[in-house]
Symmetry: C2
Subunit: 405 residues, 2 copies
DNA sequence: CCCATATAGTTCAGGACACATACTAATTCT
DNA sequence: AGAATTAGTATGTGTCCTGAACTATATGGG
């Protein structure tokens, strides 16, 4: 049953909810380095010092928070005890992509540890086999973390495709040639002991969140992330969270119509952004048909051509930037955004894409997206992995009571 | 200060919050006709019968809920007492538009009472003067409601322009030629006694919500509402609420780029939907330059031309439908929607627009928006007013404790 | 007609938790 | 050294949900 506002908030409010909420609230005031004291938190939240004390002592029990010892000499009065997020709890981040597998452990300070990448031709390979290999990497990473005295809270696995996070199923991953692949048993084995489990996510969504937490997004608060890969994906971040949309697939700018008279798209539509700004489309327009059999190798050849000043290559990339601008404007209009972060090959080609994109934005919607609000990702291939791990960390921070006896 | 999830939930959870939440929760189980009993509610919410009894008795005090007397004979056991939303509380809905003013009172069953429309040439008129006239209408409506034994909870005023609801300011209403007009003192006078005050809203947003609560939207749950007026506005409804976006102006499909090589738009951009599907654009393409000085009169002439089978008029409208489809597809892709409701002149021209729109949707994004998911508004000119009143009613239902001593 | 059974709703003790107030602790200013 | 100032803790009170016992009102079988 749904309440009148449509939220699934049919659960009754119990007395204990207040404490749970306040635990998360207090934890939210404690940053990696803020050295907030109990008194600061009381002032910030409006809770009494008594309540904060009691809440903090429970948070200390969870291991998420540490006391830093007496802080701030020089002012009058008894000095407070600084509180900060511990750097011992970590989450496992993993990415399963067409050409490689990657894992790493991210702590609450945002540091990436034990990062490891393994090349692997996963296209068309059986999910079981791929996950077996990933499992080995994850186990190494997890045991290295254990040896370093860290504790594993949870994990996240990002894949290039449509997922159902609740059931742990990859609905469709065309570039892997997977359909309806249930990863949920394998996810459990990636981090068996982790209290918050391992969640499945879309790679573009995870990268979008990584940008928010560890990259450029933090400066914006609300933005569209566009990830250029073989396809063109995207994620919408607003109010410091991913906006999934009613069906869970919001932010798919790859199939916004940017050229009504344009080519057919694999989605069945026509004139989609992907048909003019996807990797294959750019390569074709640039006339790069050789340079290696894989798309990645040919992208490298494109880069070389651009650096050599090849006119056809430059035109091809500028054209992509132009159409990218149209899609961004349309998205900005629909959801009222004013910033974009570009990742994947758009980031790699930023030098050539940026001017075309800016002039397109200015031509189609002057003033909507400022120059400073166009950012290019610097997280590279760690983005998805960091985002997946970050999401797991935030699940823990949102439910600290789950760590209490 | 914001917590880690970005919500402005920095307010501490207090013990009393539980009750407030549960009051709204229980109220959410009581519909206009559901005849839910206390026992039903206990079962549905998970609250104990004791708690529900206590909560219900407070809700009865607010006057929002009524006991219908003993219900359900024929089954074993003591019969329960049916509960339903009272039809005495109402909210005032008002619309201030270019050509007319309208008011009405909407009750919790969704019935519109004392609806009154007054033609008024408001373009370029001073806000004070217009609101004075509106005030007279509102007073008549309110006193009629009082005489009928109703109580006024709150109200809403919808205007065709960008608003800041929090401050009660019309930021820009080009068709009224208003800029930065503060209506907040006048809003207070529209319903001085109403405990929930009078809120200012955008007309398209209100119409979008009216569709959700009193029209086609209830069948969809999530949809894009596109309102064709002089300009083309819109509202995004998801999760049974209006999605405002980070800046508060989401759903503005009027300026989605649908024709990259197209005409300049008043917004400074190029190829916007409004330049091909706004009233002026359609009229110009249809070759209708006479038929009266006002746009409304010329739209009537267009209608006549269409009915007479005028080829140029038909082509013009079909062209608008074609481009409307492109904008809808782009919006659907960005926020993952699968339904549209069309209002304003799009609804008036539905017979001619519908086929063109459907074929456009099918061409650009087959399968994304099904035929059954394209609806045309039937609320006509009461839409904005009903939406504004409905929002006021829902504010009351969300905060029933505000009505208690 | 009376009693078993079933369901609706109320009363009351118990527990969780935030709050207010008063207290102790630790530091700086004079 | 003592006053002033700020941090953090201890204790009693009020709110409100829970659970169990209780009352109220219906049906159905003997």
């Amino acid at each position: 049953m749904r309440d009148r506002d449509g939220g699934l908030t049919m659960a009754p409010g119990r007395v204990g909810d207040v404490r749970r909420r306040n635990l998360a609230l207090v934890l939210g005031c404690i940053g990696p380095d803020t050295r907030a004291t109990r008194a600061d938190i009381a002032a910030a939240t409006g809770l009494t010092k008594a309540s904060v004390s009691s809440l903090v002592s429970e948070l200390l029990e969870t291991g998420l928070v540490e006391e830093l010892g007496v802080t701030r000499a020089g002012e009058r009065g008894r000095p407070g005890v600084g509180l900060a997020l511990s750097s011992r709890p970590v989450a496992l981040g993993a990415e399963l992509n067409v050409d490689y597998l990657a894992v790493g452990a991210v702590d609450l300070h945002g540091n990436l540890h034990f990062h490891e990448v393994a090349e692997a031709p996963n296209r068309g390979r059986a999910p079981r086999e791929v996950l077996g290999e990933l499992s080995g990497l994850a186990a190494r990473c997890a045991s290295a973390a254990m040896d370093a005295g860290m504790t594993l809270l949870g994990g996240g696995l990002a894949v290039p495709g449509l997922v159902d996070p609740a059931r742990g199923v990859v609905l469709a991953a065309p570039n892997l040639e997977w359909r309806d692949a249930s990863l949920s048993p394998a996810l459990g084995e990636l981090a068996p002991e982790a209290p918050f489990g391992v969640a499945l996510s879309n790679e573009a969504d995870s990268a979008a969140l990584a940008e928010l937490w560890y990259g450029h997004g933090s400066a914006f608060g609300a933005y569209l992330y566009v990830s250029g890969e073989v396809g063109v994906g995207g994620g919408l971040v607003m109010g410091s969270k991913l906006f999934a949309g009613p069906g869970g697939h919001a932010g798919e700018v790859g199939h916004v119509v940017v050229e009504p008279g344009g080519r057919r798209c694999s989605c069945g539509g026509r004139g989609c952004l992907e048909t003019v700004a996807g990797q294959e489309a750019i390569l074709a327009a640039a006339g790069i048909t050789d340079g290696g059999s894989t798309t990645a190798a040919r992208m490298a050849a494109l880069q070389a051509a651009l650096e050599a000043g090849d006119a056809q290559a430059i035109t091809a990339v500028e054209r992509a930037g132009h159409y990218l601008g149209i899609a961004v404007v349309s998205a900005a209009r629909v959801v009222d955004l004013s910033a974009v972060v570009l990742g994947g090959h758009f980031a790699a080609l930023s030098g050539w894409i940026r001017p075309a994109l800016l002039s397109s934005l200015d031509g189609f919607a002057p003033g909507v997206i400022a120059q400073e609000a166009v950012a290019f990702s610097e997280l590279g291939t760690t983005a998805a992995l960091r985002g997946a791990a970050g999401a797991a960390l935030r699940r823990a921070l949102a439910a600290p009571y789950a760590l209490l006896a």
